[in-house]
């Protein structure tokens, strides 16, 4: 969903650039309190993983493809602030590959980073509140939140397009088309997110930010393996 240069006019590009800078400044401040020595390298890995999976376009309908956005996934793994920063890093590197415009970088960071991470995380937390307290709920909530974040991000683009798109078109038609195709892409996003969160949860439950509430329920078990590493009980 990378917006190329030219789709949005100068005022909207400048305004979204300002939103991106302010939003990321807030994220840096907030991530400072959340990331410790253990999670900081995980955030770097999350960014690298999102970059990789964003390259994997999957077909969604005749002649149309989509790929993971990854904001909700990153938010569940390392928290929304660091998650949005991961996406900003990914988008910045992608700009070097001419994927997404330079003047559109602010809009892309706002829609694919800040919006998907924070809105996705809000949906994730809301779902966790009503679901039973176990691993499966974290996986399910992450998948649904990620799925919803995609059409939301697409609707965000249409809002910017309505404010300052460089083509005069009936907005209702653009909105219907954008949300329609991104609901389909959202299904893929949800599946990939649920699968990834599930895999990390199985291997290292202590490295999933969105599952910290479960970690407190777990009991410490000292195993007698030769390395004698304390294992977190599952």
């Amino acid at each position: 969903m990378h917006i190329p240069d030219g789709f949005l006019d100068a005022p909207v590009s400048v305004a979204t650039g300002a939103v991106a800078v302010a939003g990321l400044a807030y994220c840096v401040k907030r991530a400072q309190g959340e990331l410790d020595d253990k999670l900081a390298p995980m955030a770097g890995l999350t960014a690298a993983f999102v970059f990789a999976v964003q390259m994997l376009n999957f077909p969604v309908a005749l002649g149309t493809s989509g790929h993971l956005l990854g904001g909700a996934l990153a938010a569940v793994l390392v928290g929304p602030a660091a998650g949005a920063m991961c996406l900003a890093v990914v988008l910045l590197v992608q700009a070097l590959f001419a994927d997404g415009g330079l003047t559109a970088l602010g809009a892309n960071i706002t829609l694919m980073g800040l919006l998907t991470a924070f809105a996705g995380y809000a949906v994730f937390r809301a779902l966790l509140k009503v679901l039973p307290r176990r691993d499966g709920s974290v996986v399910l909530s992450a998948g649904i939140a990620a799925g919803i974040s995609v059409p939301l991000s697409a609707a965000g683009f249409v809002l910017l397009f309505a404010l300052g798109g460089n083509a005069d078109l009936p907005i209702a038609g653009v909105l219907a088309a954008m949300v329609g195709v991104h609901v389909l892409i959202g299904i893929g996003e949800g599946l990939i997110t649920a699968f990834t969160v599930g895999a990390v949860l199985k291997t290292r439950p202590d490295l999933v930010h969105g599952a910290r509430h479960l970690l407190r329920d777990r009991q410490l078990v000292i195993t007698t393996t030769p390395t004698a590493t304390p294992e977190v009980a599952r």
Partner: protein, 113 residues
């Protein structure tokens, strides 16, 4: 090797495989936004990025003829740069101050808040 570094290396390896190998089999159809722009008629307003002439533009490395190899190389390069950039950035912003026992790698127990 500590367990944390083991997980990091495993994760990085998965990312490199996805970007370096699996990417060659990804769909090349236009994505959702590109398709809508074509259908609705605003794709003509797109302009080339100032970096459209970059030697790795569009995930193709200049001078490498084989398409899958070219995409794979660009992917490996991108993952490496993103990982290095991310590691450096998050090392800078992470919580400062003396490490608590829970921050040590051998203290993975749920003793933190």
């Amino acid at each position: 090797m500590t367990r944390r570094n083991g997980f990091l290396l495993l994760g990085l390896l998965v990312a490199l495989l996805l970007a370096g190998v699996v990417s060659g089999f990804a769909s090349s159809s236009p994505d959702g936004l590109e398709k809508v722009a074509e259908d609705k008629g605003f794709s003509r307003t797109a302009e080339d990025s100032a970096l459209a002439d970059s030697p790795v533009a569009d995930y193709a490395v200049d001078g490498v003829q084989n398409e899958r190899l070219s995409t794979g190389l660009a992917g490996v390069l991108g993952v490496t740069v993103t990982f290095a950039f991310g590691l450096g950035l998050f090392a800078l912003v992470r919580r400062k101050g003396p490490a608590t026992p829970a921050d040590r790698d051998d203290a993975d127990a749920p003793t933190t808040s």
